[in-house]
C-alpha cells in the first residue's frame, strides 16, 4: 500500500467522524487576567488550521489547554472525540507537539533526542531504530543525526523537534509559533518539511503564528484571535473577500447600514471591533493583515494591542529583514 493510501486509511472518515479538534466556549484565566475568553473552534481532519494573532492574543494558552498542560472543565475541548479533561492519556497519544521555544536537549545527539520520544511513546524496540531513521530522514537531518543538538542551528533544532513530534505518528500535530526567531530561509525550510509530511501522512495540523504571510501561504483555514477571542474564521481567501465586500459596503453605509454585514457565504465573523474606513483595506487587494486590522481594531503598529502585551511590530521587522535578505 502506498503512503498516500495508508494516510487515507489512517485519516478519520471525513465529515462523518469526530472533528480533529473541537473547542466549545473555551475559557482560561491566570488570576484576574482572562487569557482565553470563550473560544469556539472546529478543526477538520486533515486540514492545516492556523491560529493567528499578536503576542498576548491567547494563542499559546489555548494550545496549552488543548495539549492538556493546563486543566479545563470537561466538555470544553475534544481531540478526535476524546475529552481533554477526562481522557488526557488518550488525547496525548494523538498529539505531536512542538512548543514555542527551541527545546531540543543540547546534551544529546539529534538521534538520541528523537529516540527518547520514541521510547516514551512506547514504540517497540524492534522498530524504534527504523522509525527514528525514517523521521530524521523526513525532516532532512540524517547526516547530522549523530551530532549533539547543541551544535545545531535554529532551523535544524526546529526540524529536530518536528521529528520528535512525528515519531509517534500523531493524528494532530500542534505547532506553537514554529518559525519564530528563524531566518526566512529556515522558515521556508521548516514549512516545506511540515507540508511534505502532512501530505504524506494526512495528519491534521494546528499552527499558531503571527506571520500573516505564512498563514496565507500554508494554512487551509485560519482563525483570527485577539484578546482571548476568535474574531473571524475562514480560508484566507474567504477572509480577504469578505473584507473586500465589507469595505465596499462601508462606502454605502450611509445609504444602507446593513450592507456592511458579511455575506452568508463568507467567513464566520464575531464582533468586528475595528473601523473598516481609515484602517480598512487599501485600494489594492486586501491582505490578512488588513483583515486582522479590520476585525481586531488594531493596526500593524500594534498601538492598541500593546496594552495587552501584543503587537505586530515583530511582523514588520521580520518582513524588513526578509526583504533585505531577499
Amino acid at each position: 500500500m502506498t503512503a498516500t493510501g495508508q494516510a487515507q486509511r489512517h485519516r478519520p472518515p471525513g465529515t462523518t467522524g469526530p472533528g480533529a479538534l473541537r473547542c466549545t466556549g473555551l475559557r482560561y484565566s491566570f488570576g484576574s487576567t482572562r487569557a482565553v475568553d470563550g473560544v469556539d473552534l472546529d478543526v477538520r481532519p486533515g486540514e492545516v488550521f492556523g491560529l493567528l494573532g499578536p503576542n498576548g492574543a491567547g494563542k499559546t494558552t489555548a494550545i496549552r489547554v488543548i495539549t492538556t498542560l493546563l486543566p479545563v472543565p470537561a466538555g470544553m475541548v475534544e481531540v478526535f472525540g476524546h475529552d481533554c479533561a477526562r481522557e488526557r492519556m488518550a488525547v496525548r497519544r494523538l498529539l505531536g507537539y512542538v512548543p514555542q521555544q527551541l527545546s531540543a536537549d543540547s546534551g544529546l545527539t539529534g538521534r538520541e533526542n528523537v529516540a527518547l520520544f520514541a521510547r516514551v511513546f512506547d514504540i517497540p524496540r524492534r522498530e524504534r531504530a527504523d522509525r527514528v531513521d525514517a523521521v530524521l530522514a523526513a525532516v532532512g537531518l540524517t547526516e547530522s543525526a549523530d551530532r549533539l543538538a547543541g551544535t545545531y542551528s535554529g532551523g535544524m533544532v526546529r526540524r529536530l523537534e518536528l521529528a520528535q513530534a512525528l515519531v509517534s505518528a500523531p493524528r494532530l500535530l500542534i505547532l506553537d509559533e514554529p518559525t519564530i526567531g528563524l531566518d526566512p530561509i529556515a522558515r521556508t525550510s521548516v514549512w516545506e518539511h511540515i507540508t511534505r509530511v502532512r501530505v504524506a501522512t494526512g495528519m491534521t495540523v494546528l499552527v499558531t503564528t503571527h506571520y500573516m504571510d505564512e498563514a496565507e501561504q500554508y494554512c487551509d483555514r485560519v482563525a483570527l484571535m485577539h484578546r482571548g477571542r476568535i474574531r473571524a474564521v475562514g480560508t484566507p481567501e474567504e477572509l480577504r473577500t469578505g473584507l473586500g465586500r465589507a469595505a465596499l459596503a462601508a462606502g454605502q453605509t450611509a445609504a444602507d447600514p446593513s450592507a456592511a454585514e458579511p455575506s452568508a457565504t463568507g467567513p464566520t465573523v464575531t464582533e468586528p471591533t475595528g473601523p473598516a474606513g481609515p484602517t480598512g483595506p487599501t485600494a489594492t487587494a486586501p491582505t490578512l493583515e488588513d483583515v486582522f486590522r479590520h476585525y481586531a481594531g488594531s493596526g500593524l503598529d500594534g498601538r492598541e494591542s500593546t496594552e495587552d502585551g501584543g503587537d505586530f511590530s515583530d511582523v514588520r521587522r521580520t518582513r524588513r529583514t526578509a526583504s533585505r535578505v531577499g
Binding site: 500500500m1 497519544r93 521555544q101 546534551g107 549533539l148 505518528a169 521548516v190 501522512t201
Partner: protein, 295 residues
Amino acid sequence: MSAVPAAPRPASADRGPAGTVPADSASDRASLLLVPPQPRRGWRMVVNRMLAMCLVELQKLRHDRTELYTRAVQPALWLLIFGETFTRLRAIPTGDVPYLDYLAPGIIAQSAMFIAIFYGIMIIWERDSGVLTKLLVTPTPRSALVTGKAFAAGVKALIQAVVVLLIAAALGVSLSWNPLDLAGVAVVVVLGSAFFSCLSVSIAGIVLTRDRLMGIGQAITMPLFFASNALYPVALMPGWLQAVSKGNPLSYEVDALRGLLLGTPAHLGLDLAVLVFAALAGIGAASALMGRLAR
C-alpha cells in the same frame, strides 16, 4: 493551501542536506510513520519511562564527563584531608573501625545527596527550555515522569558513588567487595538519591526559579549532612540533634552503607523501609507539584 514556493532559494545551514527536501522514497519512509504504537500500561509503562530517563542520563554522561570529574573533587578532599586528619587525631570515637573507613560510606551518601539535591535545577532548566513541556505532553503520567527522573538521578549518583568507592579503596579503606553487598549499596544509593531528587523537584515546583532553588539547596544540604551520622556517631550528638538525625533519611542511608561496606552493625531492614517510604513520599509530593511547573 498554497503550494510550496517554486522560486529557487540560496543554500542555508537550515535547509536539508541537498538544499531541498528529498522526494525520492519519501513516501516509503513516511509509511513507517503512519501507524501509531501500541501503548504500554501499568507497571510496564512506569518501568519503560524509568529506563528511558536513566538512559538519557547515561547518554549525557557519555557525551560530557566533565561533571563526573569535577564532582569527584569534593569527596576526594573530604576523604583525603578531613578523613586522614581525623584518623590521626582520633578525636571521634568509632570503635575498632579506623575513622577513614567510618567516614567513607558517609561521603558516598553525601556526594550522592549533593547530586540529587540540585536535580531540581535541571528540571527548571528543562521547563524553561521547553523540554519538560514536551515530555508532559507525552502519554506519561506525572508520577511516572517523576519516578523516571528520580531514578535517573539515582543512576547519576550511582556513578558518583563508584568514583568515591574507588577513591576510598585507593586510600586504603577496607571495603567489602562482595557482589551482593555492592548490589545492596547500589539499591541504597538509588533509593536515597530518588528521595533527595524528589525533594529537590518538589522545591522546584514551589519556587519555580533556578536562583531560588540554588539558594534553598545550599541552605539545606549542609544541615542535612551535619544532622546525620555521616561524619560522627549519633551518640555523640546533643539530644535535639539526635532527634533531627532520626528524621533524616540520610542517616538511614549512611547506616545501611556502613553495614554493607564495612560490616558494622546496621539496621538494614529499617534502613531500607525508611528509604523506600521516603522515596515514595518524595515521588508523591513531586508529582503533585509538577503541575505548577507545567503552567
